[in-house]
């Protein structure tokens, strides 16, 4: 099977899920990306990417009952699968291979 390379935004979503750990609910993950990337993340781009990652088998979720009194609707806890971790590793490896020797050129 050929390796699947991830888009930058896909990587960001996967990493944000990993960083949030047991707190990786939709809203929290999106806020994590916004905080670390320091920019607004469009809701439709975010949920579409989650749908796509799920379809590729990189992300799984489990429904939870919300504990916050602010919320009654069900809430999804996201988790990165083994395949997702592998894809993240591959993407990073490919990037690093490309970066090698280029630091001076790019950074100047």
């Amino acid at each position: 099977m050929s390796k699947a390379y991830l888009g930058v935004f896909e990587q960001m979503v996967l990493l944000a899920i990993l960083r949030q750990g047991d707190n990786a609910f939709g809203l929290e993950v999106r806020r994590e990306i916004e905080a670390s990337a320091n920019r607004k993340v469009s809701r439709s781009a975010f949920y579409t990417t989650l749908d796509r990652l799920e379809k590729k088998g990189f992300v799984k979720w489990a429904p939870m009952a919300a504990e916050s009194p602010r919320r009654v609707a069900p809430i999804r806890l996201f988790r990165v699968t083994q395949a997702g971790l592998a894809a993240l590793r591959d993407s990073r490896g490919a990037l690093e291979a490309l970066w090698r020797g280029m630091e001076e050129v790019v950074v100047g």
Binding site: S42, R43, S44, R71, V72, A73, P74
Partner: protein
């Protein structure tokens, strides 16, 4: 129920329409709910930092932005999924259907402008029909919300000999039908009114319903708590009882189940609460606070006093005709059972007869005419919308001519191409229908919040399954309708022709435009029809506004009804003194120029009618003279209302105090008998069972339109508010002094309308008696508005319809002329190259627009002459074929159509011949 679950009371929730839209875009199940949950959670957080309005606006914007993008991505994903994905999952027919549908979606997504314009146009057409049909369905078609409603009848009578089509129920007749009737399983009598309640919070004047004990049984209404009225409750001399409405129980007693056995102080008498009606128990179109039993004393009634409403339930298998025959049999019995009132001779002379009719007629009233006219109107809107979309569809199909011709030549079946068109048109129809439901929902909510007085049973007008079925049907009809045009046009032969000609992009032939031209002509004709309809309503409205109601400057008059119950003040003299004191107190308020009162003011809908004898013009023995409107006034009534006194003097307090036998009459009454108002002064008239108790006419007032602005002035007799009983000759009556305890105060001041002013009026009243509730508070002009409610409602609805028709019609003619110009670019270029000047080309195109709109206008005028007669009942003071309306609408529509054609005409004139010929080569 929303999965968000019950929100705590008082916490603002996101706008429901936005939530509905969001759900459409999101997948079903946990995924969709959790995404919506995320957004809702952000809404709550946003709400903590911002105002409710801002938060809701934020939610709507976010929903629109997110919903459209996310929804479109999901749709794209579905459209692009390989056909095999779908085929695997189902039977062959469904898979073909899904495939066609997917192709259709793909084609529509590819031309978003066309799709949006088509869906919006259809949504307007279908939405208007859905909304109006839900009114027709809820008000006219749905049965009344009672058990076996077809058995329910209104018990009415008729007396053509006296000029009355409708005569109400009389207690004597009610008891006769109850005792002797064979065709009713239950019979009831009721009346609505108001009563003062004290001892709860502030004294209040509550809407009440008085009923006989059989009334609830006839309607098969059961209390949810306690019991209904028994024969004992409905008899004089027994303990007083009351049954609360659900709302009143909730608001005044907090829904306390221990309310039974407690007392309610009504008209200063305490009554035991014996029951509570259910939340959905509605009494016809009334919404009373509570119900009281009538408690008639059978020994004191006679045939007469037709001021009650009768209703009954037909016994199983009995028809309306049989019930009427049964009532006719009993009428003479009533005269013998309850003597002292109307005699056999009078009944014969009045041609008194039964007139039982379906109870629904009583509830619905005359609103049916308006609604059917409206349904016809919006039907035309739908036709116009369909014609517009059909035109767009044809234009699009022409763009695909070559593709289709090639495919046909290569063996694609005609059915296959027809299927493509139909799938696309049905999809558009379906999308239009879905959007229409949202539009109709919004429209109905708006209508309900305005609550036009004209519409009874508005609560029954909902988007239920019948309405949705209707929407589905007209959506399908629309889809098939405009989908058929390209199918009919592109028969196999036609397509081959297109292929031959098509090499150069098809300079369309005359035959090809015919369908589209016809559609535009139809549109213009329909638009003209609707414009004429609303033009006639505008003229009616103007005519009504110019009608003189009889009083002047109503905007400066505040009305307040005050009733002094017998249990509070028993002595009639004291009642009159109290009223006088109150009037004086109100008169001392700064800015009040005058205060008058009467049992009823002009046009307030309250009517009391009795026979009036004129001394100089005796009627033969045993005959009833004409029945006249009666009002009982105190002092300064005419001055306050600014109704002119044409001769003699107005009634004053002293007439009541001194029991003067004096009356006033209106000018039309005076002129009926004498040459001039002045001649009437000094003449004598009487009322009662027989003539003889004469009252002298001391003054003649100007005419008043008491029955409504669209009716002729009513002849009125004004009596002093306190006088000796004029019905002393009736059984059970004496010639004691009687006083009218309930008076409508008219207060004239330039300060009317300010809240402080009303507070001062209330203080003045309560300074005299703190237990008097204030009721019927409104400006005098509001009565005028109410009298015009039906006309203004029809005007607004028809006006909206006509505006929509005009826009769609103009867009239609603009589209067709533009299209013709674009197809003739090369030909026009050649003409210009050969020396035609720009003016000639412009005139040529304009002429085409003129021919189309002119034909439409002429056909429309012809149709309007026939159809506006149908709305005759809605018109006032204007002929259904009013030349001014017809002429001005025809001219303006033609001018507007010409303006719409001018834009493409100007474009045609500015064609660069070189460019045009080159680009088409």
């Amino acid at each position: 129920m929303s999965p968000r679950g019950p929100s705590p009371r008082g916490v603002p929730t996101p706008p429901r329409l936005a939530e509905f839209f969001l759900r459409l875009a999101l997948p079903a199940g946990v995924v969709g709910e959790s995404i919506k949950g995320d957004l809702d959670q952000e809404f709550v957080e946003y709400l903590a930092r911002n105002s409710v309005l801002r938060a809701r606006a934020w939610y709507v914007l976010e929903t629109l932005r997110f919903g459209t993008r996310y929804g479109r991505r999901r749709l794209n994903g579905w459209v692009r999924s390989r056909p095999s994905d779908v085929r695997r999952s189902g039977d062959p027919i469904m898979s073909v259907f899904w495939q066609e549908l997917r192709y259709a979606v793909r084609r529509l997504v590819r031309s978003p402008l066309f799709s949006i314009v088509a869906v919006v146009t259809l949504a307007i057409g279908i939405g208007a029909n859905t909304a109006i049909f839900s009114l027709v369905n809820g008000i006219l078609l749905k049965p009344l919300p009672f058990d076996e409603p077809d058995q329910l009848v209104g018990v009415w009578h008729t007396a053509p000999g006296l000029g009355f089509d409708d005569v109400n129920q009389s207690p004597a007749l009610h008891f006769t039908y109850l005792d002797e009737g064979r065709s009713f399983s239950e019979i009831g009598m009721w009346d609505n009114g108001t009563a003062s309640v004290t001892g709860l919070d502030e004294p209040e004047e509550a809407e009440i319903m008085e009923v006989t004990e059989g009334t609830f049984r006839a309607l098969r209404l059961q209390p949810v708590l306690g019991r209904g009225f028994s024969a004992e409750d409905d008899s004089p001399g027994t303990p007083l009882t009351v049954i609360l409405s659900y709302d009143y129980w909730q608001t005044r007693f907090g829904g306390d189940p221990a309310v039974l056995g407690r007392t309610l102080n009504v008209e200063s008498r305490s009554r035991e609460i014996i029951g509570v009606m259910g939340a959905d128990a509605r009494f016809l179109h009334f919404d009373p606070a509570f119900y009281l039993p009538f408690r008639f004393d059978r020994s004191e009634i006679a045939v007469g006093n037709f001021s009650y409403q009768g209703l009954a339930r037909l016994a199983p298998g009995v028809t309306l005709a049989q019930a009427n025959a049964d009532m006719a049999r009993m009428l003479p019995m009533a005269v013998d059972k309850f003597p002292g009132g109307i005699t056999h001779e009078i009944m014969e002379q009045a041609q008194f007869g039964p007139n039982a009719r379906p109870l629904k007629t009583d509830v619905v009233g005359d609103v049916g005419e308006v609604l059917w006219v409206l349904l016809g109107t919006v039907g035309m809107i739908l036709l116009i919308a369909c014609a517009n979309v059909a035109n767009l569809f044809l234009v699009r199909a022409e763009g695909r001519e070559k593709e289709m011709a090639v495919r046909t030549a290569m063996g694609a079946g005609r059915a296959r191409i027809a299927r493509e068109f139909l799938t696309e048109s049905l999809l558009l129809g379906g999308l239009g229908g879905l959007s229409a439901i949202i539009l109709a929902y919004g429209g109905l909510e708006l209508l309900r919040s305005l609550g036009p007085a004209e519409l009874p049973r508005l609560a029954d007008a909902t988007l239920d399954w019948q309405v949705l079925l209707f929407t589905l049907a007209i959506s399908l009809f629309s889809g098939v309708f405009f989908g058929m045009f390209p199918i009919l046009k592109y028969r196999r032969g036609a397509l081959v022709g297109a292929l031959k000609e098509g090499g150069r992009g098809g300079s369309a032939g005359r035959e090809k435009h015919q369908v589209r031209n016809t559609l535009v002509v139809v549109q213009m004709a329909l638009a003209l029809l609707l414009l004429v309809g609303s033009g006639l309503m505008i003229r009616s409205f103007q005519a009504l506004r110019n009608v003189d109601p009889g009083f002047r400057n109503g905007e400066e008059v505040l009305l307040v009804r005050l009733s002094i119950p017998g249990a509070q003040v028993e002595d009639p003299v004291e009642v009159t003194q109290t009223h006088q004191l109150i009037a004086q107190r109100i008169g001392q308020i700064p800015g009040v120029t005058s205060v008058g009162s009467s049992t009823s003011v002009t046009i307030d809908g309250w009517d009391s009618n009795d026979p009036v004898y004129v001394e100089e013009f005796p009627v033969p023995e045993g005959q009833i003279p004409d029945i006249r409107r009666m009002k009982w006034v105190s002092d300064s009534y005419f001055e306050t209302m600014q109704i002119p006194v044409l001769a003699g003097r107005a009634l004053e307090w002293r007439d009541s105090h001194e029991l003067n036998k004096v009356v006033m009459v209106t000018e039309n009454f005076a002129r009926e008998y004498w040459d001039s108002p002045a001649d009437a002064v000094g003449k004598r008239i009487a009322t009662g069972l027989t003539p003889g108790n004469w009252y002298e006419i001391v003054g003649v007032s100007g005419n008043v339109r008491d029955d409504g602005l669209d009716q002729d002035p009513t002849a009125v007799v004004y009596w002093p508010m306190m006088l000796r009983n004029v019905w002393a000759a009736m059984p059970g009556e004496t010639d004691e002094v009687v006083v009218h305890r309930s008076l409508y105060y008219a207060i004239r001041s330039a300060r009317v309308g300010s809240p402080e002013f009303f507070a001062e009026v209330r203080e003045a009243i309560w300074a005299v008696n703190p237990n008097l509730p204030l009721a019927g508070i409104r400006g005098l002009d509001e009565l005028l508005d109410r009298s015009m409610a039906r006309t203004s409602f029809s005007l607004i609805m028809l006006g909206i319809a006509a505006a929509v028709a005009l826009v769609l019609g103009v867009v239609g003619i603009y589209g067709v002329i533009s299209y013709i110009v674009s197809r003739r670019t090369r030909e026009l270029g050649v003409r210009l190259a050969l020396g035609a000047n720009a003016g000639d080309v412009r005139r040529m195109v304009l002429k085409q627009g003129l021919i189309l709109s002119g034909t439409g206008v002429l056909i429309g005028l012809g149709a309007a002459i026939g159809l506006t007669r149908l709305m005759g009942a809605l018109l006032y003071g204007v002929d259904p074929v009013d030349p001014v309306t017809f002429g001005s609408v025809a001219v303006s529509l033609t001018v507007v159509a010409l303006l719409a054609s001018y834009i493409p005409a100007a474009r045609a004139a500015s064609i660069d011949p070189v460019e045009a010929i080159r680009s088409e080569l």
